[in-house]
Symmetry: C2
Subunit: 314 residues, 2 copies
């Protein structure tokens, strides 16, 4: 009986196990915490559905054949220095997570576009201060990182009436959204977009990519929504751009250190909305299809869905 | 040369005049403020594009043939006790206004659905408190008042993944959104919806329609977005429902008295977002098409677009 170990937030582990067994009654699914410490127990594990493994854990499983990340990002895996990168690894693709990300980013862009950040401050001060926004059809939003999440988010923003474009490292195609890639493409996107949605993966190339130089190339007053990873932003540079007006506002869900330290200037910044990494959650009830599909593909020797290319970093 | 008088916020009057003359160079368009006070000046006015006329003004124009409201609502006209109701009157239909309303209501529903109201409070307290929302596809939103604005708003929410239904006084049809009407329909909508968007007109029938009885028939924790008119809500009843938990939160743009008085409990309420009547603005550049179409229809003896039925009240 093939065995899968499961780790996630405590409240979700039982839901994962139930959702997996509904799809694959032939599996044995056990919480990581319930896996014995002896060699036989470790040798019995075939698959791992994992969130932030204890360093060394995955490397200690001699018969591990597949790793499935509970999240779309991988930094919760790569924080394990002994992560066995030779074992096939797939990123999460979950319609629930995609949906949540699209909702969050839509809310974030609307919050910046409709000046809700100053309006919420006005409410806090009890001040009735009428401000009006431009028409969305005159406003351009750039989605940086244009995978499954970026594409769905771009479509939602386009359906709301915004001009939308996308940017990714390598060339991609979309039916209705113009896409750019590479350094030339980035220059064009930054020069023309009123708001940017960050959905890039955390890789060495994207580390602090939103730095002083990047922000200086944006349109004055640019709005930033970061639902990707905290590592994308050079916080000092963003704070300086907010102070100078080069950045108009920011809606931030992810941070270099989480929880965001209580003395961080973002918390009380009048142009910043801070949310506690809630943009998108993987839902076991919708994500289990992807886990089952990845296991089935592995068993059939077929190409794995959303497989990680460690050279690329995602 | 037919003459039209124009009144709106000071910053918009010139934009209206320019937009109208682009479409109808044969018109003479003048700000209300520039209209002379003598009989000849008053007799020269054929059409009025008007926002909150000085009481008695419209009744004093002997040759007035058409009134166009700058807003979708009419309460800024009916506050004139001498409003000449025998003169054909049309409501504004403006793609820019429709767009703005759909953006605001989408933002309001997302704010309630994604628990951004408590999250913003948590930020104000500097607290990292992770909360997760249900999947939008399991959440039902009812749009009460299903004219041009309600229909576009419903479509935007449906495109984002919500279950959406609509309610109106009289039966209507929509391709993809189930619609209800009348008292039986309202019962069904209130019993099943997680959030309600209020876009009803201000009429004697809708005055304080959101009262204690109405709220008691809603699902516990119901979210309320009011972008229609302040008169729709019995504020004491809503505050009581928020206190008991029967209402989960409210996003309010319109109020019985505007500006909202500085001592009103909504301002500092932890479950209420207050915005200063900014949901939707009529844009001269997009709304002038409707004004030109109404004048052309009148001149041709054709049916007027969005004509007001004063017996119905809108």
């Amino acid at each position: 009986m093939p065995k899968i170990i499961v780790s996630d937030s405590a409240s979700l582990v039982d839901r994962w196990i139930q959702a997996l067994l509904e799809r694959r009654p032939d599996l044995e699914a056990v919480p990581v915490a319930a896996l014995g410490d002896d060699e036989a127990a470790r040798a019995s594990v075939d698959y791992a559905l994992i969130w932030a493994p204890k360093p060394g854990l995955l490397a200690s499983l001699p018969n591990l054949k597949l790793i499935v990340s509970v999240g779309a990002g991988l930094d919760h895996l790569t924080s394990d220095p002994d992560l066995p990168r030779h074992i096939p690894t797939v990123r999460m693709v979950d319609p629930g997570l995609t949906q949540g990300m699209s909702e969050y980013c839509t809310w974030g862009v609307l919050s910046l576009h409709r000046l809700f950040v100053p309006l919420l401050n006005a409410q806090a001060s009890g001040v009735w201060d009428v401000v009006h926004a431009p028409i969305a059809s005159n406003v351009r939003v750039g989605v940086l990182g244009f995978g499954v999440l970026g594409s769905k988010t771009g479509e939602a923003l386009q359906a709301l009436g915004f001009q939308v474009c996308g940017w990714s490292r390598s060339p991609k195609q979309h039916d209705s959204i113009p896409l750019y890639h590479g350094e030339d493409g980035l220059r064009e996107v930054l020069a023309t977009c009123d708001h940017l949605v960050l959905l890039m993966p955390a890789t060495p190339e994207t580390y602090k990519i939103i730095n002083a130089d990047f922000l200086a190339r944006c349109k004055p007053g640019v709005g930033i929504v970061n639902a990707g990873r905290g590592s994308l932003i050079d916080d000092a540079a963003l704070l300086q751009a907010l102070a100078s007006g080069q950045a108009g506002g920011a809606v931030l869900d992810v941070f270099h250190q989480e929880p965001l330290p209580s003395d961080h200037p973002y918390w009380a910044h009048p142009k910043v909305i801070v949310t506690p990494h809630v943009a998108a959650l993987t839902y076991p009830e919708t994500g289990a299809d992807h886990v089952a599909a990845a296991i089935a593909a592995l068993e059939a020797g077929a190409p794995l869905p959303a497989v990680v290319d460690w050279d690329r970093g995602y």
